[in-house]
């Protein structure tokens, strides 16, 4: 090819590449949605005009339809400066844009054209879109203007859109009174279940609760880098693995929380109990297996509640609604002790109503055979899993009242545990010192209740 030809061809190709780039930019993914919305809205208005008998009104409809047809294609956005949000969702969801659709209502049923449901409800009235934006409640990537990216179903976007009931977590972010709030029933139920099953015994929220495991007051901000990795491959939903993609829509924080409630956490985080990969053995997750106690709906409710536990999102104080101050229980004696047992989450380890201690990996306990070096690893694992927290009625009978109160106050360190396999990992969970966390009166009543349920030694000694 001569240089003259190459000159002409390369210039032509450069021009073509420019148009290609410009075309790709011009025909952005949001454009067809917006165009179709205007078309649908105009047709709908035309129909209204045809059906309208009053000529003046019909003319108004027609004028409105003309306006729709002549609307320029543009990126629309809601700027919510207070909440630091720039939500371009209304670029496609035009029916939810107050400027294009002031009534915020239309008859379309399909996303992204349909209007926001329940716009007349107190919930929406109290949260005008122009002030709160979209992602304050729904999450997702407000700045994005393509389908996958905007909903947050892409790599490196940590807060994809909340699905189903999990959106109620957003109420929890501001509403301290969410337990009595209409519309936040699932999150309220989640909190109830969280406390009923004793999660707070190990996981404090905003400082309220035990210190055995991580504080969950900012669990919704947990970075993906910390939850992903090979552990995500181990979780099962209805017996199935999640799609095999590092940042697929399914690989999000909500599913990570759920995974701990509908799977045995020890199977989600098996770690390295036989020191295959590390110098020291590392026990699996110390969290008890709640699969028998919680239904999927229960697990979803707890997930919704926890989805609202964020500290990263800066929400001005004037947006917050205070909850009611906690009420001191009017119960006394053993009845109060039982209440205290549940209030502080003792059942998280010692079981509901102190009936059965939960798993404590590699602790020496009942029903285990003697450790033997030649035992295959699978069998060892089964034996280690038999280790359990004390079943309190069997234990507390041996304490005097004062001894028991003291024990509750100082706790039991992890190092005091008797291991089943000496070279195995240290049992993860331990009894924290409750002094200062539980009041003297509460401790006293707790000890009274515990001693009242202690098994009596009837052997005659």
């Amino acid at each position: 090819m001569s240089y003259r030809k190459a000159f002409i061809v390369s210039n032509a190709l450069l021009l073509a590449a420019f148009f290609w780039a410009f075309g790709k930019d011009f025909f952005a993914p949001w454009r067809p949605y917006q165009a179709k919305y205007y078309k649908m809205a105009a047709e709908s208005l035309d129909k209204k005009a045809a059906d309208e008998k009053d000529e003046k009104k019909a003319a108004l409809f027609k004028a409105e339809a003309r306006k729709m047809r002549g609307s320029p294609m543009e990126i629309k956005q809601i700027i919510s400066g207070d909440l630091g949000r720039f939500d371009r969702c209304v670029t496609c969801h035009v029916g939810m844009d107050e400027y294009t659709n002031p009534t915020l209502k239309n008859e379309f049923t399909e996303n992204p054209y349909k209007s926001h449901p329940k716009v007349d409800s107190a919930l929406v009235k109290a949260h005008p879109f122009t002030k709160f934006g979209c992602t304050s409640c729904h999450s997702g990537q407000g700045l994005a203007t393509s389908v996958e990216a905007a909903h947050g179903w892409v790599k490196h976007w940590e807060k994809p859109m909340l699905k189903g009931v999990h959106i109620q977590g957003s109420c929890v972010k501001c509403h301290g009174d969410f337990e009595t709030l209409k519309g936040a029933e699932v999150a309220a139920q989640g909190k109830k279940l969280f406390n009923k099953h004793g999660c707070q015994g190990c996981h404090a929220i905003n400082g309220w609760g035990g210190v055995v495991s991580v504080e969950l007051g900012d669990i919704a901000d947990k970075p993906f880098e910390r939850i992903a990795g090979y552990n995500f491959k181990k979780i099962r939903f209805d017996g199935k693995e999640l799609p095999n993609d590092h940042h697929h829509t399914e690989w999000n924080l909500q599913n990570w929380i759920l995974a701990h409630l509908i799977n045995d956490p020890a199977s989600v985080t098996p770690n390295d109990p036989f020191a295959h990969y590390n110098a020291e053995p590392i026990p699996p997750s110390g969290m008890p297996d709640f699969t028998k106690e919680l239904t999927r709906a229960d697990a979803d409710a707890i997930t919704a509640y926890l989805s609202g536990q964020t500290k990263e999102e800066v929400i001005p104080y004037r947006y917050h609604v205070a909850g009611k101050a906690p009420v001191e229980s009017s119960l006394t004696g053993a009845a109060h002790g039982k209440y205290v047992y549940t209030k502080y989450g003792c059942q998280g380890c010692h079981g509901l109503d102190a009936k059965q201690g939960r798993r404590r990996f590699n602790a020496a306990g009942e029903g285990q055979v003697e450790y033997d070096e030649k035992m295959p690893e699978a069998e060892q694992l089964a034996q280690m899993n038999l280790g359990a927290e004390p079943t309190l009625p069997k234990l507390v009978g041996t304490y005097t009242h004062d001894e028991l109160v003291h024990k509750l106050e100082v706790g039991v360190a992890a190092t005091e545990a008797k291991k089943w396999k000496d070279a195995g990992p240290m049992p993860m969970v331990y009894m924290p010192a409750w002094k200062g966390k539980i009041s003297k009166r509460e401790l006293n009543d707790l000890a009274i209740w515990l001693r009242s349920i202690a098994e009596k030694d009837e052997s005659g000694f």
Partner: protein, 551 residues
Amino acid sequence: MPTLDLEKIKKEVIDSQLWRSVFRGGVWKDTPRDRAGHIIGNVWLHLHPVKVRPRALKWAYTWGMGGISFALYLLLTLTGVALMFYYRPTIGLAYRDIKDLEFAVTLGMFLRNAHRWAAQAMVVAVIAHMVRVFLTGAYKKPREFNWGIGVLLLTLTLFLSFTGYLLPWDQLAIWAVTVGTNMAGATPVLGNEGPLGALVGMRINNDVRFTLLGGTMVGENTLLRFYVMHCVAVPLVVGILLILHFWRIRKDSFSAAPYEANEAKVDVWPHLVKREYIAAAGTTLFIMIWSILQNAPLEAIANPNVTTNPSKAPWYFVGLQELLVYFDPWIAGVVMPGLIVVGLIAIPYIDTNPKGVGYYAWKERPFANTLFMLGVVMWFALIYIGYALRGPNYAWYWPWESWYMNKPAPPATWSVFGPKGVGAYSMLIGIPLMGAITAAWMLLPKLIQKELDGKKTMGAFLGLLALWAGVGMAMGKMDLVQSGYLLSLVGASFYYGFVLPQRHIRTLDWPRYLVTMVLVVSTMSVLLKMCANLAFNIKYVLTIPAISMNI
């Protein structure tokens, strides 16, 4: 009906006062005078000579890489200035501005892609240009100085790319820059973690890393510093050096080959200019299509509390990062790159071979070409290992292995001379022994007067290594993989570091010989240390904790 006389219109337009005021010269008649006037009379073209030797025009000779590098530089300036209209270098806004570029700005994504990809391409083009110039011996007298400027330009290209890496303020950016700048903290004397640093009062808040970052960690100040360096300071220096570089090319004449009898020059217009245009247009086209098809990476917003695993430097520095596995940061991050830059600049002054100027001459310059290409191959091989084969916890993952597979922790390492090493007296025995071995290695090739038979010497050495491996395996202390590492890496360093110098440069005068051997032995030390680490889990050969120096 009057006919349209195009020629007449053209003449009238060109002869008009307006046209003549803008363009010098009259109607184009394609005479030699016209063609010369085109170069001389045009401020943009007159850095060219009027005539050029035809051999300097051949694609197979130039690869067009110098021109392409400059075309990419211009492209980067253009796209970079455009991007500056949308970008604010503060940690609250930077990431959001990039998101705006991606999602809301007309052609924003395309501009960002083009800037990103052109920067990567420029790194490759500049390295390719250097390789070409080396292989054609075009750095030799009188072009030594211009080669040195070229090396500086290569370094600045890498630095420009590196400073730009931080600006999107995402996880990729801060951790890559953290990896890169942490190496600066290990600079001997000037860094707080480097040898002798603590002795002269270097702390985390006053050393060279602090100066670079404007703080003790990558933060707001770093972003501003990198922004100013990226957009103003470094491009200015590059521009000045480019003018020098081009000026010297013109003065030292295009093509270094000795003149042949009756060699006729050709006009730069159109012969050189048309080639330059095609190269630039092709490059632009390539970058445009790449930018349309592939988006630049953008990860989650930077979070200093969440370290990515693995954290990797920008790809062109991943080779040095891979060296961190084998060496302490002050060697991998400071001494090695320093030696590379200084060594490259020194090449024209230590290479006295008069042959192979202006043409590819592997046979006439076996030593220079082999060692240089070995360095280039090692540079890219280390980048490949670091980039493609290192997974979580920087463990070795083959391409077919999933990163979700857990890898055992690496076996415990040990030091030969040091507190926990087998030879406890590092000061007393270690230093003298290491010194003696290095000195012997550096001196022996020149002291052995007679040229060694390459095949016989290599055979004997490999035999010795095989004997070592055989005895080790017989005693059950070594396995096949270790033997493989031993034979390949130690064998290679003996061949390139001893046999080749003995055969080819023992006649060099002492100063030049010693400088060359320092560079050769340093290069081989990488291979040897890789072997020691990969095959025998040796962390250090010599440790002197008192001055935090480990080798």
